[in-house]
Subunit: 187 residues, 2 copies
Amino acid sequence: MEIDQILNNIYPLPESSKSVIKKYISEISYPKGHILLRAEKIETSIYFIKKGIVRAYANSADNEITFFFGKEGDTVISMKSYVANEKGYEDIELLENCDLYELKTQNLQQLFEKDIAIANWGRKFAEQELIKTEERLIFREFRTAKERYIELLTNNADLIKRVQLGHIASYLGITQVSLSRIRAEVK
Amino acid sequence: MEIDQILNNIYPLPESSKSVIKKYISEISYPKGHILLRAEKIETSIYFIKKGIVRAYANSADNEITFFFGKEGDTVISMKSYVANEKGYEDIELLENCDLYELKTQNLQQLFEKDIAIANWGRKFAEQELIKTEERLIFREFRTAKERYIELLTNNADLIKRVQLGHIASYLGITQVSLSRIRAEVK
DNA sequence: CGTATTTTTTATCATTTGTAAAATTTTCCT
DNA sequence: AGGAAAATTTTACAAATGATAAAAAATACG
């Protein structure tokens, strides 16, 4: 997906503001398996996915939980670094070879102070991510694991094809063994 | 909590921008039990809590889930109405008599287009809500129900005193019976 | 192509959480 | 204060999910 479309999907920008942002955006590719963002670091870049798929996961003592998948057109970001300039809680791993657009947070922050259209673009970006996160938080509680799987299968069939089931299970909030049971039932 | 402090806690605004916002803010009180925002409506106001406590809950076929508590200094908002101008998924119920500051969304949206400091204030507001929501989504998965209860007890003791346990249980993602079992253990 | 590695499935048993209903306590109202 | 209503706790049982181990299948790679 091209950068113009990605920026516009978040919030339509006047051409002048868009070309200002684009001055600070560069393209970069990394191979499958690369860790793009790290939980222990204050990250200084955000990325937009041109091609490929990534996952965000957080670790506690004994287990690892995948809580986000990003694909073409999605933004990859350590929200904690971006918002609070603090270490995040997530690693981001590339699940395929990826082509990315990179933007330094610092440059974006400066644009927020100077260009009101870009400030509102940043506002819309946060608002949209917020809606998505809030919906996930709420609707997870309303559905059983099986229903959540079927919903993912219906709305994001490609995700299930492109991502290994252990990560999907974690994203759904169940064990891989449970997911396997569900799949046997649903078939 | 006074409106100046509430606005500033989100993001420090220059005096000029703050007085512009304050022109559009009025005070209003409602009694315990009042439904401030409704799921079936596109809401046209947002509120800041001067005094009192509220809960947001969503309904599905058979059950109701509380997913947010707001108290002094917090913002009460139908995020779906505010962001997308669509019906939300939540009702907001006042759990005590409340004193509120009211701001019409439409007025705020107009200020976003004209005043860059206010646009960045709106951006920061969404970003901070996003961080809070994301943390809840992630860390819920890492802790057992008992750990989540103890955490709430430690960090929000007043909430447990001010809110009935059925709502607390729902917020923690468990049944009231489960919470009762946990409380018997923890005591 | 064949072997090693990774991923997925299956089976068993233990634990957690839910459902339903009754008992108890607290709150509210006159 | 007294009684009704609401909230909370307790109990017994059922269902869902987790943990563990091992087998089967798919994939990677020399």
